[in-house]
Every structure is written in C-alpha cells, then in structure tokens.
Symmetry: C2
Amino acid sequence: MIDVGPLARKLGAYVALSEAELKVLETMHRKRQVFPVRRDMVHEGQSNQSAYILAKGWACSYKILPDGNRQIVDFQIPGDFLGLRSVLFRTADHNIVPITKVEASEVAVSDLLTTFSTSPRLATAILWAASRDEAMVVEHLVGLGRRNALQRTAHFLLEMGTRLKLVGLGTAEGFYCPLSQFMLADALGLTAVHINRVLRILREDGLLVVHNKQVRFLDRARLVTLADFDTAYLDQDGPLLR
Amino acid sequence: MIDVGPLARKLGAYVALSEAELKVLETMHRKRQVFPVRRDMVHEGQSNQSAYILAKGWACSYKILPDGNRQIVDFQIPGDFLGLRSVLFRTADHNIVPITKVEASEVAVSDLLTTFSTSPRLATAILWAASRDEAMVVEHLVGLGRRNALQRTAHFLLEMGTRLKLVGLGTAEGFYCPLSQFMLADALGLTAVHINRVLRILREDGLLVVHNKQVRFLDRARLVTLADFDTAYLDQDGPLLR
DNA sequence: TTATCCTATTGATCTAAATCAGTTTATTTA
DNA sequence: TAAATAAACTGATTTAGATCAATAGGATAA
C-alpha cells in the first residue's frame, strides 16, 4: 500500500477515497515548504495570508494578551489545515508558530474551491474534517470554562492521543509529545507550576506518565471517566461512509 | 428601502449584495418555524439534524458535563446560522436552546451548496460570516483561559453589543439583553453569585449598567481598554468589498 | 568546560472566585 | 391577587490555582 500522507489518512476515516480523489489530494501537496521552530508562520494582523496543509511536525495557534499572557487555542499536527480562517477572513486574527520543525504545503484557496466543485465527496470529507477541528476547539472551550485542572489536562492529552492515532502518529498506549510544561500551561489556561503538580498527581495515581517528550497512558479507562472523554469518534474502524 | 432581514444586513457588511443575491437569500427564508423558549431545538447525539437561519429571538448552544455543570459556547442572534456544524458532522455534538421565542428558517444543506455554486459572491460572504463566528468562539476561549472575571464579562458584553449592532439590534450605547445572570455565568465560566458582584463593580466604576434586560455602556473607551476589546471589525461603515 | 539558558520540580504563601447560606425583588401561575 | 417560582443580591467562609522563591538537571552556546 502506498503512503497516502496524514491528510488522506484522516479524510479516509470519513469516506473511502477513490484513486482519483487521492490524486487530487496529492496535487495539493506540490509547494512543500519548511518552517523553522519558534518563527511565526502567521502573524495576527497580517493580511493576504496563505493556507497550508501540515505534513510534518507540530505547530500551535495562539493569541497574546496585552499583559503578555498567552492562550494557545489549538495545536496543529500532520494532516491539519492551517490558517484557513485567516484566508477567508482576509486578515489573520491569531498567530501560528511551529513547535518543531514543520513541513507544510501551501494551498491556494482557488485550488481548494476548484476541488470543491469537481470532487464533491472530497469536499464533504474536508468539510467534515474542518467541523471536527471546530468541535475540538469547542471542547477545549468547555474544558477551560467548566473542568478543573486535573480533568482538563487528562482530557487534553486523551484528545491529542486520539488525533495523532487518526494520522498514524500514536497508539492507544501513548504518543510522542514535543510540548513543554509551559506550552501545556498556555493551552490549558494554567501556570506551568500547576501543570507540573497536575502531572505528578496523574503519575502518582497511575493514570498517565509524561516523560522524555513521551506521553504514556497507564489506565485509559479511568482516564476517560475522570476526563469525561467522548470516545464516540474514536471507537471507529474504517470510514464512516462508503 | 426594503427590509433585507438580519442575515442580509450582516452579509451586507462584507460585500455589497446585488438584487439577485438578495433574492437568493430571500428564498432561503421560506420554511419559517417558531420555537418556544427552553425547549431544545438541537440535542447532542441527534443525527440528521437540520440547519437554520435565525430570524428573530436569541438562542444559545451549550454542553452539559456529567456533574451537571453547563458551559454555554455561544449565543445565536438574528442573522446567525444555527446547527450548521451538526449537519456537516452528521450528529450534533452540542445542544441548542431558545432563550426567547425564536423564529428560524430551515435551510436544506443541498440548497446551501447550490447557492455556493451559483452565487460565488454570496458564498464568500457566507463563509466570511462563518469565519467571523468561529473567530468569536476563539476569542471566547481566550477569555476563559486568560482573562479575569471582570475583563471577561466586559469583553463579552462589548462583543454582544457589536454583533447586535451589525444586525441593527443595538447601538454604541447599549442593547436589549434577555440573559439572566445564571446564563451569563454559564457562558463566562463563573458562578451567578460572582457575575452579580462583577456587574456591581462595573456599575460602581461607571463602566456599564445591566438593568431590566438592558445593557447600557456608560464609558465605552474605558471598557474597551479594560477588556482589551478589538474594535477592528467594528470601526467599519459600509461593506468591506464592492 | 564553564557560563547561560531553558525546563522541570518543590515548598510557602496569597488571592480570585467558589461555595454556603441566606434575604429581597421580580415574574409566573393558579 | 395570593401563592409559587425564578432571578437578583449580599455576607461569611473556603479552596483551587496563582504567585513567589528557590533548587537542580539538561541542553546549548561561547
């Protein structure tokens, strides 16, 4: 079997893609670019921004408040679109920065629109993926509003695990995670000091271990209960539609 | 001038719409329905849900956690789409409930897709509006993660004011707001008790008054500073594109 | 190979917001 | 129009997570 790449793999979880559709996806990966760590790819206020498909590495989208505080809105992993809203919105309303070295393909919005009209199944799959990403932002919001530090952290790590598994970068047991405790803190609306304590509790309770940029789930069942994690779109094997 | 309805008014802030495009929008408002207060229009887990355009009244989308806690994700006001993600996602991942009596028009997704291919300008405008809504969810997330109760509340009320002004339901001075302090609390990740105290502080500081379901901004400049409110897409008069 | 920086870790203390326990004032409803 | 219910408001107390202040281990740079 050929390597279909993370995006095709992700969309394939939704619809079984034909050879022709895979070809279209392939053509979207022409202009591959490399982005170094810690240098903003998209900057708030920038206009005429491009959209990208992330092929390798991790990035994150964030906002900075006037007091210097940062809130990470979402992490982008291989197979994710990046900066789509900035394009539609004409001006970026947030920043995007690589966490590791990133490889990404620039996608012209016009190409995307063409794809939409010529390949409706692919279009549905892409919209499905976009809706799923939005649903994750919503879940993140719910966590910040109504979950305590422990549940929030557990939920976040379970979700990242699920996302990574979908693109073949993780298993039910764990995943490689290049995030520092400071980044976790900025995503979860906590301080790094508190994240450190939360991770200790999770470890001491035998729920999960984070060590050497590696997350390992020790007791997934109890974690899922603790975090009220919805496994609906996880317990799925093969595409939803044929 | 004819009444173009809240959606046309909102989209008109982005592109100047032609007579033909207004006609298309009008046909989307055929199947008008009325929904009573406090009876879920969309329920989590429901599948084959319809999408709606809200014509009159307020609704909100929310999630309930197992401990009974509620997090309101967003409020929907006239001109907003409602349940779009549920349609694309095939199963609703959240609930939507009317806060006041609601009038909404059912939109078949097929109609929407037709509109997209026949009227590209309208399509862009709708995507712009959708991006804007998503940007507001993101801003909400940032507030929950990194703003204190006072800034968060101020920011939220300024934002609602801006949204309502865009559809002609508010002015720079204030707006009608049917939300109880409990609903504000569920949206802002606080308790009703604390919302009450925050509103008192805002009142005593001469910043804004909430009374009789009416929000009045007393010192907009200071509010904007306090909340770090981005007025970029507010200081706009007439459509962005022609 | 020492100095510098970043990340992880821990203890002590502080504080914003929650919780608890009411009273008061509006709305519904009967 | 009285009774019932929901919403607004307030004080006292508690607590989850922040802040402050260090220590220590790797990694990077010079």
